[in-house]
């Protein structure tokens, strides 16, 4: 087997984090494994180039590229590693693309595996991006799986980016930082879903500057904290002009978990319209009763509520 042939663990992780079947890979992709390039493919419209000054890649998407996708998953396998990588996305004018990132760690050891991905998006005028990011950990070892993604987004006039972020299993510790700077008529939508168990810790930090007239953002965070896990959600929205923001943070707290929500909305202009909603609570008793009255056991009802909440 050569070193670019995915093994069974690779295949499983790629399926979980990117929903890709390695035997049917198509389009542009760059798979990174244990801190190095594993396999890559480019297309006439999407080029991927390794950075020369630091570890990472530039993903360059031509103007008017429509209905194409890029997969850039990262795999860490049984490594005592601290993988720091800089990925920059240059999205050409009026393109409409989907980018699927994510990191999966398989750790059967007692060593710490850490991946810190710094993703910067330069989205040109009128371009539309759907960005999906999944984080996942597995393995039987007691080593820590640490993922600290940073996402920086620059939206030019009329650009839009929709980010879906999912972390539901196996990540010991995460600090997720997202910063965005919006020009006129641009829109940023973020949907974040997190579940922490055992003694895991997750920190989410959103900072959005609405600098252009009629820019808007909608941030929805739904999280479940189980066992003795801890979560912290912070958001800081700066409305600097006529703009609209809606931030919604909902958390279900279970067992002995702890959840902190720190909302901040700054209206620096009379036409800034900013809303923040935060709700933390246990699963509502009436929801369990309703599902049990349909014939589900308490455990099944709880699972349905969690599945729905994180869907």
């Amino acid at each position: 087997m050569d070193n670019t042939t995915p093994n069974t663990v690779d295949k499983k992780i790629l399926k979980v984090i990117s929903n890709i079947d390695v035997n049917k890979l198509k389009g542009a992709y760059n798979i990174r494994k244990n801190g190095k390039l594993f396999i890559r493919n480019t297309t006439p419209n999407i080029n991927i180039v390794s950075k020369k000054d630091k570890d990472g890649i530039d993903i360059i998407i031509k103007e008017n590229t429509k209905n194409e996708s890029v997969h850039i998953p990262v795999i860490l396998e049984n490594k005592n590693i601290n993988d720091l990588v800089y990925n920059d996305f240059h999205i050409g004018k009026n393109s409409d693309v989907t980018i699927i990132a994510g990191c999966g760690i398989h750790n059967d050891s007692h060593k710490t595996s850490e991946h810190d991905g710094i993703h910067t998006f330069y989205v040109e005028e009128g371009a539309k991006v759907k960005y999906i990011e999944n984080h996942y950990g597995e393995g039987n070892g007691d080593g820590k799986n640490i993922l600290n993604p940073t996402t920086v987004i620059y939206l030019e006039k009329g650009a839009s980016l929709e980010m879906e972020s999912l972390q539901i299993q196996g990540v010991t510790s995460t600090i997720r930082t997202t910063k965005a700077y919006l020009k006129e008529d641009s829109n940023l939508t973020i949907k974040e879903k997190i579940m922490t168990t055992d003694n895991q810790e997750a920190v989410t930090d959103f900072y959005v500057e609405l600098n252009g007239e009629n820019s808007s953002t909608h941030v929805v965070s739904r999280s479940i904290a189980k066992d003795t896990s801890k979560q912290q959600f912070s958001s800081n929205i700066q409305g600097n002009t006529k703009c609209f923001a809606h931030v919604e943070c909902d958390a279900i707290i279970m067992d002995k978990a702890k959840v902190v929500a720190i909302p901040r909305i700054d209206a620096n202009n009379i036409d800034a319209n900013l809303i923040h909603e935060a709700a933390i609570g246990k699963i509502a008793g009436e929801q369990l009763i309703k599902l049990m009255s349909l014939g589900l056991s308490e455990k099944q009802a709880e699972q349905e509520i969690i599945n729905g909440f994180l869907k």
Partner: protein
Amino acid sequence: MLEVKNICFSRDGKDILKNISLKFPKNKVIVITGANGSGKSTLAKIIMGIEKPDSGKILFNGIDITDMPIDKRANLGIGFAFQQPVKFKGITVGDILNITANKKLKKCELCDYLSDVGLCAKDYIDRELDSNLSGGELKRIEIAMLALKNSEFTLFDEPEAGIDLWSFNSLIDIFENMKKNTNNTIVIISHQERILDIADEIIILENGNIKDMGKKTYILPKLLDSSKRKRYCKEVVHNG
């Protein structure tokens, strides 16, 4: 079919149900009515297992279900439509109907159940059961769930509360269809004359006691005011 025996329930020093005994026969529509605070909803919740009586027994088809949890009662064949439908974040209308059916329903089946309550499936199956739906829409979906569940014994707690006139008319149709097409027992808690009118039997609760009970033709005239009573008696004579 279902029988409650000597049910007592009190909370915060107030006796809400005082030694209630009732038999709900098979294949009947029974309406429980009475003033607010008379104990109607508490009785329904006790039958479903949502509240536990201080004393007394509940028998369903001869089985003592007094200490049985809600889900076991549901699986035996008892259904309950909430007065205030419960909202869920992330669970869609399609999901809740699939959960109710305990299988993945085909789109045409979802369409059948939703159209019976005046909702178009394509507009609703992917919508979440949350505050984005109006009270009336949630109520219709609640009724659709219970129609789908098709339990041998179903309790509807004030199904008319919060719904508009159009929905109310279709609600009556739903109960009439259930009555015509199934052998199930339907118990409806209601104040509405038109719902009382589809009952086979009516039970009146007052301050936790059974004030009166019997066939509709016996109870309903007593409930209506004198002018309405006159009209109702005329209708009975005309309709034979």
